[in-house]
């Protein structure tokens, strides 16, 4: 594995532009080839003539690895999570999934009470090496198919939480997650999959990203400054990284230089990168698609308000979905999901306040 590869796109290194779906599938394929203990569990993930899971990520893997490694399950989310945890206890490295993150609540007991706690309850003797993948984000499917659930899992001690915003990170983080000896909840944003054909999402970003041909891993707990800036810090994840970047471009034209941080993993969280940025820019806006109250952004605000309050030149603000379920009608959903305009507006206000 190359350490060079952990640098961002570099013309010297052979690689190619791929979608998130391609990148995640490649991560699964590479890890399955490398380690026989890696198996997949989920609904509709390996059926012949089927979808490769709800968003095609596992397409073709049952053909390559066989149905004993790509297990199509009944609709039994609690058992999917619990069976994965049990298999992990006995030495496998299962990667399980739900078709929509919203169904995680069905598996929550197994994830939060068993997978997350078994190592601790055993006094550190066991480990539960599993990954649980979950697509999040609103895509005009209404209240039960569009939630962002990162905060719930960030609040469970014993679980790691990843949330990549681009194919490069997606691949590198998923490979790391699979090799991690702890349970990892791996959030993927539906509008970032770049799925094509029938599974293409309206409003989906055409995110393709460069990924080196050489193998690489991305460690957990390292945020990425995706745009350095001087005037304000924007902290975001998943789709909101892209919206924050778009906002930063607009703001740049107005002379406001925003630093954008992609948190990449919520647990462990790279507090230092955020703190350093805030100490430099003296202003903080957190951007998340999750509901405002109790979102992961609250934790970021709280930590900064503890560690960096003396450096702040104004209030800590959050742009998040309002405290409502996800509405169906696109006009309402567009209002619900934080927009580039809202980010820009909030930044304008923040830089104005104490300038």
């Amino acid at each position: 594995m190359s350490s060079r590869a952990s640098a961002v796109s570099n013309q010297e290194i052979p690689g190619r532009e791929v979608t998130m779906v391609d990148a995640l599938r490649a991560a699964l394929r590479e890890e399955m080839r490398r380690d026989k203990r890696v198996i997949l569990l989920g609904e509709d993930i390996g059926v012949e003539g089927g979808f490769g899971g709800a968003f095609t990520v596992t397409l073709g893997l049952s053909e390559e690895f066989g149905h004993h490694r790509v297990l199509d399950t009944p609709i039994s989310e609690a058992a999917i999570a619990g069976v994965a945890a049990g298999a992990a206890l006995a030495g496998l490295r299962p990667v399980a999934d739900v078709q929509y993150g919203d169904f995680l609540f069905l598996a929550m007991d197994q994830l939060a009470n068993n997978a997350a706690k078994l190592r601790y309850m055993s006094g550190g003797k066991l480990s539960v090496s599993m990954v649980f993948r979950a697509p999040v984000g609103a895509t005009t499917r209404g209240a039960q198919h569009g939630q962002s659930l990162e905060a719930f899992f960030m609040h469970v001690p014993g679980l790691k939480v990843a949330c990549p915003s681009n194919p490069y990170d997606g691949k590198g983080l998923l490979k790391t997650a699979i090799r991690d000896d702890n349970p990892v909840i791996f959030f993927e944003h539906k509008l970032l999959y770049g799925s094509k054909g029938a599974r293409k999402e309206k409003g989906g970003l055409q995110v393709v990203g460069w990924v080196p041909d050489e193998e690489y891993l991305i460690p957990f707990g390292e945020a990425k400054i995706v745009r350095p800036g001087r005037d304000i810090t924007l902290v975001a994840n998943l789709l909101m990284v892209h919206k924050s970047m778009q906002a930063a471009e607009i703001l740049a034209a107005e002379g406001v230089d925003a630093e954008v941080i992609d948190v990449r993993t919520l647990t462990p969280f790279d507090w230092e990168t955020v703190f350093q940025s805030v100490r430099k820019t003296t202003r903080l806006l957190i951007v998340e698609e999750d509901n405002l109250t109790g979102g992961w952004g609250a934790e970021v605000a709280a930590r900064v308000a503890d560690d960096c309050i003396g450096y702040l030149d104004g209030p800590i603000r959050r742009i998040a979905a309002p405290d409502t379920p996800v509405p169906f009608a696109p006009v309402m959903e567009n209002f619900y999901v934080p927009s580039v305009e809202k980010i820009v507006g909030a930044v304008r206000e923040l830089v104005k306040v104490h300038n």
Binding site: G50, P74, A78, T140, P322, A329
Partner: protein, 320 residues
């Protein structure tokens, strides 16, 4: 017209309405005029209509991610359904629910629950309320065969069984849960065998025979109404379309699909009613035309209906 004849024509009409609604909606999707996704139920109309035709006023149904036919069969207004799919203020959920959550408790339908199995406890709960309030009503709880593998099915059917609640569990066994064939995910041959685990009657029947469905539901309904508890009805059927809008259904053999299309519940019933002379050939076109017109009007109305305002997304979280 005799009551039976009237009912038969009613069921025929309702099934056609379900079918034509779904076809219309499908084209609207292809044309890009509807947002979101849809799960269609062409081929399953006999179960929706047979069950709902056996219900009384103020009875309730619960439904799933595939709710259009259930809603139509239960008598939710077609306009309000269409408007909901168009994300209009006038929709049955005022544009907040969408295809997967259509419903209207005034019309006897709890908003559909799109999480597989998630509606089953709600059905048992409604039934508990009916019994407690000494309301002589029952609940028909729809779900797919795939849902019988999830925990809530088990817990809620058991709870309804021990308390003899007035609910009929209606499993539409269309052989597939998304792309997953039923044989792969359960070892029992019939879903109805699962009733045994709860000590309640279970019955498997031809879910494409609307008359048979109606009769079985009457019976199970009477039992429930009499306080003798729930029944698990397994209705064998098939969805002609893919699982959702985006599914070409390549996991099914074309022969299998073709064979089931031979058992089209509407064509079969039509033939039967013609043979019984309940229906005259000339009436068919008339009925279809009138449905076509109703759908046309619903679409036109929905298109001109007001959209919710963006900020409307903030209301209706809490009752005050």
């Amino acid at each position: 017209m005799s009551e039976t004849k009237e009912r038969k024509l009613f069921m025929y009409h309702r099934m056609l309405m379900c079918r034509m609604f779904e076809e219309r909606v499908y084209y609207l999707f292809l044309e890009g005029r509807l947002p979101g996704t849809i799960h269609q139920s062409q081929g399953q109309e006999a179960s929706a209509v047979g069950v709902c035709s056996a219900l009384e006023d103020k009875d309730m149904i619960t439904s799933t991610h595939r709710p259009h036919s259930h809603a139509i069969a239960r008598g939710v207004s077609v306009r309000s359904l269409m408007a909901e799919l168009f994300a209009r203020e006038t929709g049955c959920c005022r544009g907040k629910g969408g295809s997967m959550h259509v419903g209207d408790m005034e019309a006897g339908m709890v908003p559909a629950i799109a999480i597989v199995g998630g509606g089953i406890p709600l059905a048992a709960g409604c039934a508990l309320a009916f019994r407690y309030l000494e309301q002589p009503n029952i609940v028909a709880c729809f779900f797919g065969e795939g849902a019988t593998n999830i925990g809530t099915f088990h817990e809620a059917v058991n709870m309804a069984a021990i308390w003899n609640l007035p609910v009929v569990f209606v499993c539409e066994n269309n052989k597939y849960a998304a792309s997953t064939a039923v044989e792969k995910v359960m070892r029992v041959k019939r879903v109805s065998e699962r009733a045994m685990a709860y000590g309640i009657p279970g019955e498997t029947l031809d879910g494409n025979d609307v008359e048979a469905v109606y009769q079985a539901m009457r019976k199970a309904g009477s039992r429930a109404r009499a306080g003798d508890g729930p029944t698990l009805l397994e209705l064998e059927t098939y969805r002609f379309a893919g699982h959702s809008r985006s599914d070409p259904g390549r996991y099914r053999e074309p022969e299998e699909v073709a064979a089931w299309k031979q058992r089209d519940p509407i064509a079969r019933y039509e033939a039967k009613l013609l043979a019984e002379r309940v229906l005259e050939p000339a009436e068919i076109t008339k009925i279809k035309t009138s449905i076509e017109r109703e759908l046309e009007a619903a679409v036109a109305q929905a298109e001109s209906d007001p959209s919710p305002k963006p900020e409307d997304c903030l209301s209706d979280v809490f009752a005050s």
